[in-house]
């Protein structure tokens, strides 16, 4: 993987004349040090939000999903919007860890760990929504193809919803294994630095007793490559199948062939926005500016431009084709998106997803932390609206005008959504204080070729 003659035009990926020891120091510091007051405040807020969400969950389970704003016409609303939004966010982690690994992008090493963590937490938040929507969550295991003796009925293999079960559970498992495999040597480093025997024991168990022998390293590299190869089709498959929840139907606005690749691009787009939102704060709070540099931010912003533009081209393609098709229902669906009662959600989506990322064409903006942070929030919002537009505006006007209606979210809808945000941040905050947030052993492999030091002689 190493390139022994890095071109002079390449910027260093690690700033500030680091040594191997300093990298360990810098990355272990948040784990070994005490939590700051700010951290505690943010953590308590996150936990409170999560608890509110849990309360709303409990209320939903106790009373039934009638407490949501869903109705006969709009049978899917915030629940599925949130589900798709969270799953999409997860995609950036896998893209960074797997696809960028296959493309040998060395800058991924500073961000892959936290992005993968984000993936896992996001998928957990996502999975809550379809489970809740089942109503009787205590029989949630019926989604698996179990023999009828379990009380379940044999599942419908023709349904994309079932494919979702397989796709997301596989994706979650592989992402977790991939993430954990990368963590093993880093946990060992933390273990070796620990003074307290109890902590040492915990990190030893977490690192599976890693000894760092040549054989272990060789296996480690092999398994990383295999997992990257497996994750790449998986990350595509997940949002492809999510898109098929809609596209296999005959609903105007849902049935369109561009959905699979366009959903994948949108997912990566939203995921990178969330990575930026998190990392811009994390690099500051944990003093990781030398590892997550402005160059990293800029490169991620370039991915945002590319994926945002792909999404933009897809919007316009859909819009054009709805006219071109000559199908009255298709034409109406898109006219209704732009001018119907939900026009504001459509234009929020267009503004946030198509226009704001184009600002990154200016180097000043894509290298500015403040601008990037603001735009990343815009993208997060825009991608939520995208799913809302697709789901609610397509359903609220169905073929029968007497069924036309509106969707109004209840406090439970809002509470559950906010709750998942709380769960997500609680998990991420715990992660940031107990796990090495940068893949330090991987990062050390590129120190010689990409640090700020005047080029050292190579072996």
């Amino acid at each position: 993987m190493e390139n022994h003659s890095t071109a002079t035009v390449r910027q260093p990926l690690i700033l500030g004349n680091k040594t191997y020891h300093q990298i360990s120091e810098d990355i272990a510091r948040p784990i070994e040090g005490k939590a700051s007051k700010l951290f505690k405040v943010v953590f308590v807020i996150s936990v409170l939000l999560a608890l509110w969400g849990v309360g709303c969950f409990a209320y939903t389970i106790g009373t039934g999903i009638g407490v949501w704003g869903n109705n006969k016409s709009v049978g899917w609303a915030w629940d599925i919007t949130n589900f798709v939004w969270w799953v999409g966010i997860g995609h950036a982690g896998t893209l960074i860890s797997a696809v960028l690994l296959l493309f040998r992008q060395r800058w991924r090493m500073s961000i892959n760990r936290s992005a993968e963590a984000m993936t896992i937490f996001a998928v957990i938040c996502a999975a809550l929504f379809p489970v809740m929507h089942m109503g009787r969550v205590w029989v949630a295991y019926w989604v698996f193809p179990l023999p009828n003796q379990f009380g379940s009925l044999w599942v419908n293999f023709n349904s994309p919803l079932l494919w979702d079960v397989f796709a997301i559970s596989t994706y979650f498992t592989v992402s977790l294994v991939f993430w954990y495999t990368g963590l093993i040597p880093d946990f060992a480093t933390i273990r070796d630095r620990q003074m307290k025997p109890r902590m040492q024991r915990i990190y030893n168990i977490l690192s599976f007793g890693w000894s760092g022998s040549a054989k272990q390293w060789s296996r480690f590299e092999e398994v990383s490559l295999v997992l990257a190869g497996l994750s790449t089709p998986l990350v595509l498959s997940v949002h492809t199948i999510v898109s098929m929840d809609f596209a296999t139907s005959v609903i105007p606005g849902w049935h369109t062939t561009i959905f699979p690749p366009y959903f994948v691009a949108g997912a990566i787009f939203s995921g990178f926005a969330m990575v930026l939102t998190l990392l811009i704060i994390m690099r500051k709070v944990l003093n990781l500016e030398d590892y997550i540099t402005i160059q990293h931010i800029e490169l991620m912003n370039k991915i945002i431009i590319v994926t945002g533009s792909i999404v933009g081209v897809a919007y316009l393609t859909e819009l054009f084709t709805s006219w071109y098709s000559g199908v009255e229902y298709e034409q109406y669906a898109f006219l209704n998106r732009a001018t119907g009662p939900y026009w504001w959600s459509n234009w929020s989506m267009m503004t946030c997803n198509v226009i704001t990322p184009q600002l990154f064409w200016f180097k000043k903006i894509r290298t500015s932390l403040v601008a990037t942070f603001i735009i990343s929030i815009f993208v997060n919002i825009g991608m939520w609206f995208e799913r809302f537009v697709i789901i609610v505006t397509s359903l609220h006007r169905d073929y029968l005008p007497s069924s036309w209606t509106m969707f109004h979210p209840t406090f439970v809808d809002v509470g559950i959504f906010i709750g998942t945000i709380g769960i997500f941040f609680t998990c991420f905050l715990i992660f940031s204080r107990t796990f090495p947030v940068i893949a330090l052993s991987e990062l050390k492999t590129i120190l010689k070729t990409t640090s700020e030091n005047p080029k050292q002689p190579h072996h």
């Binding site: 993987m1 071109a7 005959v250 959905f259 071109y324 000559g326």
Partner: protein
Amino acid sequence: MNYTFSSKTRNICFILMAIGLVSIVGAFIADSHRAWPSLLLNSFFFMAIALGSLFFIAIQYAAEAGWSAVVKRPMEAIASYLPYGAVFLGIVVTLSALHFNHIYHWADPEILHPTLENGQPNPHFDKIIAGKSGFLNPVFYIIRTVVYLLGWVLFLRAFMKRSEIEAKGLDVTNWKRSQSLAAWFLVFFAVTSSTSAWDWIMSIDTHWFSTLFGWYTFAGFFVSALTMITLVVLYLKGQGLLPEVTDNHIHDLGKFMFAFSIFWTYLWTSQFMLIWYSNIPEEVTYYMDRFANYKFLFLLNLFLNFFFPFLVLMKRGSKRNYNLLFFVGIVILFGHWSDNFVMIMPGTMKEHWHMGWVEIGTMLGFLGLFGYVVLSKLASRPVSNPTHVFYQESVHHHI
């Protein structure tokens, strides 16, 4: 080191071109209805390979890719066919839009008006096509075609100009300018690659529509371009040139062929599966026609373009085996030619299609021209570009 375009190779190109010329002229004498779609197929197929190669060059700059610097000249040589392809394709589609033939149903002026001049209802009136005439009309269509082709050719010229400056010596400013050129090209390409596919190919089946069609077409010609790049590099290696290109570079090219064969299949499946599953009459006719009259080719394409490269190129060793990779490359190229065949013929030839001397002969003719242009370009300057910013990185590329 320069490539020598030997008189023997040159003669092969000429013979192929002669075969093509005879086939095209013969086809027009024998059955012009069959000659036109074959011309469209072949002029598009080879133009698109050159375009795909230009796209790949742009990607190298935009992504700051280092490994590929040593194979940039072959990519440029392939892209340099673009103006020739553009002229042929431009002529074919312009004449088709002007209704010199029956490729485009929408080009027929008789179907657009609900009533005849004498006030009687027009028996040939087609409401759906009439609804599309704001977009599918000869004037707008020809303007669009000129914009696409001229735009791409101008971008190619700009890239070539940068390449000439690049050859003079290590020049970081020039590299940065190439980068922004690449960004502009990618923006232009992002829109035109889709819209051109709608115009030239999707509008053959005028009633039918699919939002994915543009990207599907792109995936097909991009993997063809990647394969063509690999074949040209392997050919040059066979001539004893490009010593700095090692197994590692070939391996990476092989990976691209493998990966984008899967990508093509992904889009193929997305389009086919969603249309098949939903079974909406307006859409499903496209595949009904293909399955009724082109079943063998339709299924063969899936084998040639997916199962075969997927299974053979999966192994590390096969991406480093030059002979095997060359063979797989030929199969992929034929597979995508055949895929284009199944995209173009059902709407033009219906069930009366042939894959005979007309289609194969025309293909050989274009291949001869393509080979002649590409190899002449290669012979015109050194095949290495040691002053590229990433040349050293590329030479030391090791995986």
